[in-house]
C-alpha cells in the first residue's frame, strides 16, 4: 500500500500551493507584510501601545459608586433587584432552616431515601456514609449552608434553563439566537461571572446564588434544547399523523422522548452549581467554600482539607444519584416498600428531634486539621527540598517556574504585540475558519485595549505551560488506555471521581505539595484538565472505525503503524476536541490560581473583590472573558462550526 501511495505523494509535492493550510498561511503572511511594518512604525513598543488603550477605571468606578449610593433608593433596585435579592435571601434561609429543623439524622435519612429510590441500596448507603462523614469532620453546619444555597440555585437554574431550552428547542429563531451565547458561556471561567453580579447585588448570598444560576443554567438549556431537537423525526411524524395538537405533541411525545437529556441536564446543572457555589464563597456565599477559602488564605492545609472532603463527597454523591436517575435503571420498587422506608426516614428525623440531638454532637467530631497539618509540616521539612536524587517538590516547583514559566512569560511579554495577534490569527485559522480567527484576534486586541496586556500575557503563559503538560500526559495516558483494556479499567473510577470534583478543591493538595505561587496554580490546572483530555482521547481512539483498523491489520501493519497511520489520523477530531477542552478547563483553574499566588488576571479579580475595587476586578474579568474566547476560538476545529450550519 505504502509503495503505491508514495509516488503519488511525491507527484503532488510541487503543487504544495494547492494545500489549504499553506494557502491560508501565505495570505496571512501577505497581510502581515503590509500591516506589521505600519504598526511597528507607528506604535513602536514590545507591549501593547499605550495610545491604543482605553482606561475604563474611572467610568467603572463611577458606575460602581453610583450603584452603591443608589442601591437603597433607586426604583430599579427597590422594585426589581431588591425583590430578587430578598427573594433569594428568604428562600435560602427557608431551606437552611428546614435542613436544620430536620436535624442531622433527618437530613441523612432523607438523602439516603432519595438515593435508594433513584439509584438503589448501594448508593443509599454511600449517601448516608457521606453525610455522616461531613458531620464527623465537624462540617455539618457549613455543609448545610452550602446545600441550602445549592438547592435554591439548582431549582432556579433548572427553571431558567428549562424555559430557555424549551424556547430554543421549539423555535429555530430562538435556537439561532441562544446557541452562540450558550456556547460562549460554556467556555468562560467561573470567575468571570462573579464580578458583574457583585457590581449589581454587592457581596453576599444573593450575589452568590445568582452567579451560580448564571453559571449553572446553560447546560440545562443546552441539553433541553438538544433533547427536544434530537427526538426521532418519524415518531413525531407518527404522533402528528394521529392528529395530535401541538400541546399534546409536546407533553406526550417531545418531553418524554427527551427524558434522558433532561436528566443529564439536571445532573450537569447540579455539578456546575456545586462547583460555583464553592467558588462563590469569594463573594460571600458562605458554607464549605468559605472555609476552604479562609484556610487557603492562611495556608492552613488541614482546615482546607476538612472542608474540602465534604465538598468532594457531596459532589460524588450528587453526581452518582442524578446520573443513575438519568440512566433510568432504578430497580422496580413496590409502593408499600417506598412508603415504609419514607416513614422510617421521617421517624428517624422525629426521634432524633425528640431526643434533643438536633445538632451534630460535638463529641462525635474528629479534628483532622491538626494531624493533617502535622503531616504537611513533615512534608515541608522533608519533601520540599533536599530529597536525594529527585530533589524536592518545592525544588520542582521552583525549577518549573524558572525554566518554563518565566521564559514563556518573558517571551510573550517581550514579543511585539502585533506578532502575538498574528500568531493567534495563524493558529486559529489553521485549525478553524476565518470567522474563528477573526473572533480570536478581536478578543486578543480587546485585552490590549483594556490595558491589561501584561497580566494577560502572564496568565497566558501559565495556560500554555499547563496545556502543554496536560496534553503530553493526557495523550500518553489516553493512548495507553485505548490500547490496553486493563489500563482503562484501572483508570475509569479514578477519572470518574476526578471529573466530578469542583475546581476549587484541586487547590488544596497542590498547596500542600508545592506551597504557593504560579507553579502550584499550573499543577492544579493540569490535574483538573487531565481527566477530560484522557477520556476524550481514549474515546476518540477507541471509536475509530473498526473496519479501517481491521483492514490495516490484515495488511500486516504493526501496532505502531496502526496507531500512527490509522488511529491517530482518524481520531483527529477527537484529539482537537481534547485540546479545546483542555485549554478551556486549564484557563478556569489558572484563573482561580490567583487565590494561591498564581498572580496575573486571577489575582486582579480577587483583589478587586476583596478590596471593593470593582473597577480593577471588572477590567480583569473582562480580560478573562476575552482570553477565554480567544483560547476557545483558536482551538476550535472548523467542522464544529460547519456542522451547526447543516
Amino acid at each position: 500500500m505504502a509503495t503505491v501511495t508514495a509516488p503519488a505523494l511525491r507527484a503532488t509535492l510541487p503543487g504544495v500551493l494547492k494545500h489549504r493550510a499553506v494557502r491560508k498561511l501565505l495570505l496571512l503572511a501577505l497581510v502581515a507584510a503590509v500591516l506589521a511594518p505600519l504598526a511597528h512604525a507607528r506604535w513602536h513598543s514590545g507591549t501593547w501601545p499605550a495610545a491604543l488603550t482605553v482606561d475604563l477605571t474611572d467610568p467603572l468606578t463611577h458606575v460602581s459608586d453610583w450603584i452603591i449610593d443608589n442601591r437603597d433608593s433607586h426604583p430599579l433596585f427597590l422594585y426589581f433587584f431588591g425583590h430578587i435579592s430578598n427573594g433569594v435571601v428568604l428562600s435560602v434561609r427557608a431551606v437552611y432552616l428546614f435542613l436544620l429543623a430536620a436535624g442531622w439524622a433527618g437530613v441523612t435519612a432523607l438523602a439516603a431515601f432519595v438515593a435508594w429510590r433513584t439509584a438503589g441500596v448501594r448508593l443509599a448507603l454511600g449517601t448516608a456514609a457521606a453525610f455522616l462523614t461531613c458531620g464527623l469532620l465537624g462540617m455539618w453546619v457549613p455543609t448545610m449552608q452550602t446545600l441550602a444555597l445549592m438547592v435554591v440555585a439548582v431549582l432556579a437554574s433548572v427553571a431558567v434553563g428549562a424555559v430557555l431550552g424549551l424556547a430554543a428547542g421549539l423555535s429555530d429563531r430562538m435556537d439561532r439566537a441562544l446557541r452562540p451565547v450558550l456556547d460562549t458561556m460554556q467556555v468562560l471561567p467561573a470567575f468571570a461571572y462573579l464580578l458583574p453580579v457583585v457590581l449589581v447585588f454587592g457581596i453576599g448570598v444573593p450575589a452568590a446564588v445568582l452567579a451560580t444560576v448564571v453559571y449553572a443554567a446553560p447546560p440545562m438549556a443546552r441539553l433541553t434544547s438538544l433533547g427536544l431537537r434530537g427526538a426521532d423525526k418519524e415518531v413525531l411524524e407518527a404522533v402528528e399523523s394521529l392528529g395530535a395538537t401541538a400541546r399534546q405533541r409536546l407533553l406526550t411525545a417531545r418531553i418524554p422522548l427527551a427524558r434522558r437529556e433532561l436528566l443529564l441536564g439536571l445532573n450537569q446543572t447540579i455539578m456546575m452549581a456545586l462547583s460555583m457555589a464553592v467558588i462563590a464563597s469569594v463573594i460571600g456565599g458562605g458554607g464549605l467554600g468559605d472555609r476552604v477559602y479562609q484556610a487557603l488564605a492562611s495556608v492552613d492545609v488541614g482546615a482546607a482539607l476538612a472542608a474540602g472532603i465534604p465538598i468532594v463527597l457531596l459532589a460524588v454523591v450528587l453526581d452518582r444519584v442524578t446520573a443513575a436517575a438519568g440512566r433510568g435503571t432504578e430497580p422496580a420498587h413496590g409502593r408499600p416498600t417506598t412508603y415504609a422506608l419514607l416513614a422510617a426516614a421521617v421517624a428517624v428525623a422525629v426521634a432524633v428531634r425528640l431526643a434533643g440531638r438536633l445538632d451534630w454532637p460535638d463529641a462525635w467530631t474528629v479534628a483532622v486539621a491538626e494531624p493533617v497539618n502535622r503531616v504537611v509540616d513533615w512534608m515541608t521539612d522533608h519533601l520540599y527540598s533536599g530529597v536525594p536524587v529527585i530533589g524536592g517538590t518545592a525544588d520542582w516547583a521552583g525549577r518549573f517556574t524558572t525554566w518554563v514559566l518565566d521564559p514563556v512569560r518573558d517571551g510573550l511579554q517581550g514579543l511585539p504585540w502585533w506578532s502575538v495577534l498574528l500568531l493567534v490569527a495563524a493558529l486559529a485559522w489553521l485549525i478553524g475558519t476565518w470567522r474563528t480567527a477573526l473572533t480570536a484576534v478581536l478578543a486578543m486586541a480587546a485585552i490590549g485595549v483594556l490595558g491589561v496586556w501584561e497580566p494577560s500575557m502572564d496568565t497566558l503563559s501559565q495556560v500554555l505551560a499547563a496545556v502543554a503538560v496536560t496534553l503530553v500526559l493526557g495523550f500518553a495516558t489516553g493512548v495507553a488506555a485505548a490500547r490496553d483494556d486493563r489500563v482503562e479499567r484501572l483508570l475509569r473510577p479514578v477519572l470518574d471521581v476526578f471529573q466530578t470534583m469542583p475546581q476549587f478543591v484541586y487547590l488544596i493538595p497542590v498547596v500542600a505539595l508545592f506551597g504557593v505561587g504560579r507553579a502550584p496554580a499550573v499543577a492544579a490546572a493540569v490535574v483538573y484538565a487531565l481527566p477530560a483530555v484522557v477520556r476524550i482521547t481514549t474515546q476518540g481512539l477507541r471509536q475509530v472505525d473498526p473496519a479501517a483498523l481491521e483492514s490495516a491489520r490484515s495488511l500486516g501493519a504493526t501496532g505502531g503503524q496502526q496507531l500512527r497511520q490509522v488511529q491517530l489520523p482518524l481520531a483527529r477530531p477527537a484529539l482537537l476536541l481534547a485540546l479545546n477542552q483542555g485549554v478551556v478547563l486549564v484557563l478556569a483553574v489558572v484563573i482561580i490560581g490567583g487565590l494561591v499566588g498564581g498572580g496575573a488576571l486571577g489575582y486582579d479579580a480577587v483583589f478587586g473583590l476583596a478590596q471593593g475595587d470593582l473597577a480593577t476586578g471588572l477590567v480583569a474579568g473582562a480580560a478573562i472573558v476575552c482570553l477565554g474566547l480567544m483560547l476557545d476560538r483558536v482551538t476550535q476545529p472548523a467542522d464544529r462550526r460547519a456542522k451547526k450550519g447543516a
Binding site: 415518531v235 411524524e237 407518527a238 399523523s241 392528529g243
Partner: protein, 359 residues
C-alpha cells in the same frame, strides 16, 4: 356512510410537491414544470418530489404506490393528509377538499379517517405496547378504561396477546410493526396509509406481515394505500399499482396490466424478472374456442393465473376452458400458455387488449 359507493376515498388531481425557495412558481410555469430534475435544480434550486400526479383510490381497494427510493412516493402519501403541505393540485377525501381544511378539520381527518403505518414504526419508546396502541384514542380524548379496552382488542387482532405490557425496545422488528399496525387500526380509520412498512424487516417476517395485511383486508375490506419499493410486494398486495419515477406516475394499472403491457421501457425493465405466469391471468392467453373444445377439457376461471392453467393443461393434456358462470369464454392451449411464459406478445389472444388507464 353517506358517501356514494362509487365516490373515490381519495381523489388526487394534478398534485405537485416542490421543495426549495419560491417553490410555488414551478408548477405554474409550464416551462419550469417540464424541466428534468437536475436542470430544475440548477436553475431554481428547487427539487420537485411529486410532479403532476393524479389518481383515485377506490373504496375497499388496496392501492399501491411503487417506485425506487427518491421517486417521490413517500412524499406523495404524506401529502394525502398534509403531513407535508402540497405545492399545487387538488386532493379530496370522500369528495371533501383536503387542502381547504382548517386545522381542526384536518385534525379530524387525521384522527378518524386516515391512519398511517411508518417504515421505522414511529413508536413511543417510553410507553407499553398497550399504551402505544391506545395512543391515537388518547389523542382523541377517549377515556382511559375505554381506550385500553379497545386497544386490547386490536392487540389481539394483530397477534400480540400477552405482550401488552412490554416496551417497544423489548420487541422484535416484526412485533414492533404489528404494534404500529395496531395503533393505526385502533382508531378505526376509513383508510390505512402504509409508508414502506415492511422494508426494515427480514424477508421471512416481511412475508408474514404481508399475509397479515392480506388477511386484514379480506376480513375488514378497509381501503389501503400502500407505499413500497418492492415490486413483488406491490404485485402481491395491490389491486392497482401506480408506478412512480422521478415524481411522476409512469403507469397506473392492475398488476396484470403492469406486467403484461408495460407502458414504457422503464417499466418493462422493471418487471423483466417477474414470473409472468404467476401474475398474468388466462385472459391474456385466451383464444376463441372451437365447437368441440367448448364442451370438454379442464375448466379454469377467467381470473386464474397462467400458472394455474398450465397445471390444468398439463394434467389433462388438452386445452383448458375458461369458464365464467357456466359460460365458456374461450380456451387456452399449451402453445399460448408457453408464449406467455416466454414473454412473447400475446397479440393473437382474443379479449386481452390491455386497457391502459389515463395517468
Amino acid at each position: 356512510m353517506t358517501v356514494l359507493p362509487n365516490t373515490p376515498v381519495f381523489s388526487v388531481e394534478g398534485l405537485w410537491k416542490v421543495f426549495g425557495p419560491k417553490s410555488e412558481r414551478v408548477p405554474l410555469d409550464p416551462e419550469l414544470a417540464a424541466l428534468p430534475a437536475a436542470e430544475l435544480r440548477s436553475r431554481t434550486g428547487c427539487t420537485a418530489a411529486v410532479r403532476d400526479v393524479s389518481f383515485d383510490v377506490r373504496k375497499g381497494e388496496v392501492f399501491v404506490v411503487m417506485g425506487l427510493s427518491g421517486s417521490g412516493k413517500s412524499t406523495l402519501v404524506r401529502c394525502l393528509t398534509r403531513l407535508i403541505e402540497p405545492t399545487a393540485g387538488a386532493i379530496a377525501v370522500d369528495g371533501e377538499d383536503v387542502r381547504a381544511m382548517d386545522r381542526t378539520r384536518l385534525r379530524e381527518l387525521r384522527r378518524h379517517r386516515a391512519a398511517m403505518v411508518f417504515q421505522h414504526f414511529g413508536l413511543l419508546p417510553h410507553r407499553t405496547v398497550l399504551d402505544n396502541v391506545a395512543y391515537g384514542l388518547e389523542i382523541q380524548g377517549v377515556g382511559k378504561a375505554e381506550r385500553r379496552e379497545r386497544a386490547r382488542e386490536v392487540v389481539t387482532k394483530v397477534g400480540l396477546e400477552g405482550m401488552e405490557h412490554r416496551r417497544p425496545g423489548q420487541l422484535s422488528g416484526g412485533q414492533r410493526q404489528r404494534v404500529g399496525l395496531a395503533r393505526a387500526l385502533a382508531v378505526d380509520p376509513e383508510v390505512l396509509l402504509f409508508d414502506e412498512p415492511f422494508s426494515a424487516l427480514d424477508p421471512l417476517i416481511r412475508r408474514d406481515m404481508q399475509e397479515e395485511v392480506i388477511r386484514l383486508h379480506r376480513e375488514e375490506g378497509r381501503t389501503m394505500v400502500f407505499i413500497t419499493h418492492d415490486l413483488n410486494e406491490a404485485l402481491k398486495l395491490g389491486d392497482r399499482i401506480a408506478l412512480m419515477r422521478d415524481g411522476r406516475v409512469v403507469q397506473l394499472g392492475t398488476p396484470e396490466e403492469i406486467v403484461g403491457s408495460p407502458a414504457d421501457d422503464y417499466v418493462r425493465e422493471f418487471v423483466r424478472d417477474v414470473p409472468r405466469e404467476q401474475v398474468l391471468t388466462v385472459r391474456t392467453a385466451m383464444r376463441a374456442a372451437t365447437h368441440a373444445e367448448a364442451g370438454t377439457g379442464a375448466a379454469v376461471t377467467p381470473d386464474a393465473t397462467v400458472s394455474e392453467a398450465i397445471e390444468a393443461v398439463a394434467r389433462t393434456g388438452t386445452p383448458a376452458r375458461v369458464m365464467d358462470n357456466g359460460r365458456c369464454l374461450g380456451v387456452v392451449d399449451s402453445d399460448a400458455l408457453l408464449g406467455v411464459v416466454a414473454g412473447a406478445a400475446p397479440g393473437a389472444a382474443a379479449g386481452a387488449e390491455p386497457r391502459k388507464e389515463a395517468v
